[in-house]
């Protein structure tokens, strides 16, 4: 009997509680009720507004993350005072080969490796533009140019690297020209990041981590990245298998245009420009029948701007695979030998008063 009374009392208190709570509905419940009352048109409008707001918010968050990611060269060179006297620029070959520390031993001047893997000249052009925005113009620029650089099959314009810098008219015009498919989408909120989210998600998150961890120095402060793959990669064998009769390089007009624009930008800033080619593994050259012809065209461009095209084709290391990972990329030992030679060349140029 007492048990049932107790139960009844308990039920009473519960119903009291319910009454109290129903007279003061929680925010969540009232929100749900309000949402249920909306008609379809209102719901559609609400969905669109909420989605657009969230996308815009995400866009801001990504902007923030990407601008605080110390590992993104485009962001880092604009925010940090590097003020190097010598810039090394181009795709993965200079990135993995030329260590500013090794160069310093020979030249005694501060250098920075601005190169980025898989980058074409439009990519290089924008990175030089960013560097010059945040730093004093260097005295020298060594830009890596080979017949491969002129062929659209090698390297590319990596649009994702510039997504957070859209809005700058220079960046906009280059992106529009080099990646029109992407440019068509970017008026949709967040689409400038969504389009290449496979790369950007990670970089934005890393940027947040850098911000909260107060990290301002990149993993590779002088820009040089030692290669991940340090042994022979068999690309030459695959190349020969694919083109047993050899491969003729193509000459891309857009590449030519941005090579010229990069040289012009540097010269406008008073930088002395050198185009250079690191030693190519000699056994690969017979499979590139028009290599000399394309090199001649590059020399003509250098001549047009009154600059030197320095080629290290006769270096001893070019004769042996033991210094290479692929036909173009030297391994650690090969890179050290080449950087020494490049350093000596630069020193000679400096002493010659150039």
């Amino acid at each position: 009997m007492s048990f049932s009374i107790h139960r009844a009392k308990k039920r009473d208190t519960r119903s009291d509680k319910l009454e109290v709570s129903s007279s003061r509905p929680s925010f969540r419940r009232s929100y749900r009720e309000q949402l249920k009352k909306l008609n379809n048109i209102q719901k559609i409008s609400f969905t669109i507004i909420i989605t657009l707001l969230l996308l815009s918010g995400l866009g801001r968050l990504y902007d923030f993350g990407l601008h605080h990611n110390a590992n993104i060269k485009a962001a880092y060179v604009q925010s940090a005072k590097i003020d190097a006297a010598l810039l090394i620029h181009g795709p993965c070959e200079p990135l993995w080969m030329i260590s500013p520390k090794t160069l310093y031993v020979q030249t005694g001047i501060k250098s920075y490796n601005l190169a980025l893997s898989h980058s074409d000249f439009a990519d290089n052009y924008l990175h030089l533009y960013f560097y010059l925005k945040g730093n004093k113009a260097p005295r020298y620029l060594f830009l890596y140019v080979t017949p491969e650089s002129m062929d659209p099959k090698y390297n590319t314009f990596n649009t994702y690297r510039f997504a957070s810098f859209l809005g700058d008219p220079v960046v906009d015009s280059v992106v529009k020209e080099c990646d029109p498919a992407y440019y068509k989408w970017i008026m949709i909120p967040f689409m400038k990041y969504a389009f290449y989210n496979n790369t950007i998600n990670f970089e934005a998150l890393q940027g947040m981590k850098h911000y909260f961890g107060k990290r301002t120095i990149p993993y590779y402060p002088d820009g040089y990245e030692p290669p991940i793959q340090r042994v022979w990669d068999n690309h030459l064998e695959e190349f020969i298998h694919l083109y047993p009769q050899g491969y003729n390089f193509n000459w891309d007009r857009l590449r030519e245009k941005y090579l010229c624009k990069t040289i012009e930008l540097a010269q406008r800033s008073g930088i002395k420009v050198y185009l250079y080619e690191s030693p190519v593994l000699k056994e690969a050259v017979p499979y590139q029948p028009n290599r000399q012809q394309i090199t001649g065209k590059i020399e003509a461009i250098a001549g047009k701007y009154g600059i030197k095209y320095v080629r290290f084709e006769n270096m001893k290391i070019a004769e042996s695979r033991k210094y290479y990972m692929s036909a173009l990329n030297t391994n650690m030992e090969g890179s050290r030998i080449f950087t020494d030679s490049l350093g000596r060349y630069i020193k000679n140029e400096m002493t010659a008063g150039n």
Binding site: N40, T47, L58, W185, M191, A194, N197, N198, L205
Partner: protein, 471 residues
């Protein structure tokens, strides 16, 4: 990629909006014109092919009743079209065949968009009329729409005349249909570009460079291909059914949680339902009926013939025959061991029996899919050999994660884990997602979250074509 490309999205918005306002009297005209525009945008040759085949089958159907010779001619011509489609696909392997032809020639003609799908529909149409189960359609516009209705023209679902034709005259577009169709379409886009396309590089890495990897890495790649194929094709189907619904049509379901099947025969009742339905109706049942006096042998013959035809339909090559052979073996085994399996299921705990069955069926399907995906039978056997040799990698990061993540960088690993997380969650909550996709209510948060996930993790820049577009 089709349906989720920007121009096609604009086209869809325009067609769905206009269709809603067009008088029901002119809706079939309007949708036929839209379908022709869709196919014509893809390629003029495809448009010509669909017009010629629709015209041919429309006129032949009128005179086919009781005319065996005409019926066989119709069947042969439609079958020949399918075989030629597959033959030319093989010879043009590796070429983006949809845009590779600029001049009108027989080569381009037979690689027309969706030809092997609407040819099956035409065979069904001629058969239904020949056997007096369906009356010939009088209106060529309606028949044209049956052939070329754009949501289903690329890769089905294969609709029988009795399933599609009555809907043309009764077509209505309601708000519920619009909402339900949109929910379904959105889930389809998610499945395609967030799951299937994200898994694609890992699958490509294992199937095309698999000789370099250890056993467990290869096996993971094989599993991922089956999951990729499922999300790719079911994603396409969701998009097709969603668009169909928004235009007032109920297209046939193609999938019913096939990866949860407890037997291979159940798997085939849940996977590519419309195609298997077609094969069952027009090959398996007629054959088994004719041979019914032979009992089990009749069923076995039916299985062999049906799957051989299915293999040829998918492509003329030893790989597809090997794939078909695997399923013939599985289904024959199931047929022969039915009594034993029933008695075993009574003795073992139901949940355990079901879990083990699902695991076995999934592995069996994955095994057959090695042949389905490989470039040649030799490559498939090489992959099988690799999957059992050097089972564990020496270094898990470089031997397991890096090949599946397609790169050894942190960003590649990050993407791979994200893909696994999304894919695993979707498989786990598949039924709940499906329920939301079929809902006729406008769920604000469901739409918002799916849209955000598409923006955050979808592959926009380098997406794959639908895998089934090649068939």
């Amino acid at each position: 990629m089709i349906f989720n490309s920007p121009i096609i999205l604009l086209f869809l918005i325009a067609v769905i909006t206009l269709n809603y306002f067009v008088s029901p009297l002119f809706r079939s005209f309007f949708l036929l014109a839209a379908s022709f525009a869709f196919i014509g945008y893809y390629s003029i040759e495809s448009l010509l092919a669909v017009i010629i085949f629709a015209g041919f089958n429309f006129y032949i159907a009128k005179k086919i009743s009781g005319n065996r010779l005409l019926y066989i001619t119709g069947l042969l011509l439609n079958s020949y079209a399918i075989i030629m489609f597959n033959y030319f696909h093989i010879t043009k392997h590796g070429v983006d065949f949809s845009y590779s032809f600029v001049s009108f020639n027989i080569g381009s003609f037979v690689v027309a968009l969706g030809l092997s799908f609407y040819s099956l529909q035409n065979i069904a149409y001629l058969s239904e009329i020949y056997f007096k189960r369906f009356k010939p359609v009088k209106n060529i516009v309606e028949f044209g729409l049956y052939n070329s209705f754009f949501p289903k023209v690329i890769s089905g679902p294969v609709m029988l005349p009795a399933e599609f034709m009555p809907q043309i005259s009764k077509n209505t577009v309601t708000k519920e249909k619009l909402i339900s169709g949109f929910n379904r379409f959105l889930v389809g886009v998610f499945k395609k570009i967030v799951i299937a396309d994200r898994l694609s590089p890992a699958v490509h890495s294992i199937f095309d460079f698999g000789d370099q990897y250890s056993g467990i890495t290869t096996i993971a790649g094989i599993y991922l291909f089956t999951i990729q194929l499922y999300f790719d094709f079911s994603g396409y189907t969701d998009m097709a059914l969603g668009i169909g619904k928004m235009l007032g049509y109920d297209l046939k379901e193609n999938f019913n949680f096939p990866l949860r099947s407890t037997s291979v025969s159940e798997f085939w009742r849940r996977w590519h339902i419309s195609l298997i339905g077609w094969f069952t109706n027009y090959i398996y049942y007629p054959l088994v009926y004719r041979l019914r006096s032979y009992k089990k042998a009749a069923a076995l013959t039916g299985i062999v013939v049906t799957f051989l035809v299915s293999g040829i339909w998918h492509g003329i090559g030893l790989t597809f025959l090997a794939w078909a052979f695997c399923h013939i073996v599985y289904l024959s085994f199931e047929l022969m061991s039915k009594r034993f399996r029933v008695s075993l299921s009574g003795k073992v705990n139901h949940e355990i029996y079901e879990a083990i069955s699902i695991f076995i069926v999934f592995n069996a399907v994955c095994f057959s899919n090695i042949f389905f995906r490989s470039a040649s039978v030799e490559a498939a056997f090489q992959l099988i050999e690799n999957s059992v040799s050097h089972f564990f990698p020496v270094n898990w990061l470089s031997g397991f994660i890096a090949p599946l993540a397609v790169g050894g960088h942190q960003v590649d690993e990050f993407n791979f884990y994200i893909s696994l997380l999304i894919c695993g969650s979707c498989l786990l909550f598949e039924r709940r997602i499906n329920k939301l996709a079929l809902s006729t209510k406008l769920n604000v948060w469901f739409i918002t979250i799916v849209t955000l996930l598409i923006f955050l993790f979808g592959i926009f820049n380098n997406g794959e074509r639908f895998i089934y577009m090649q068939f």
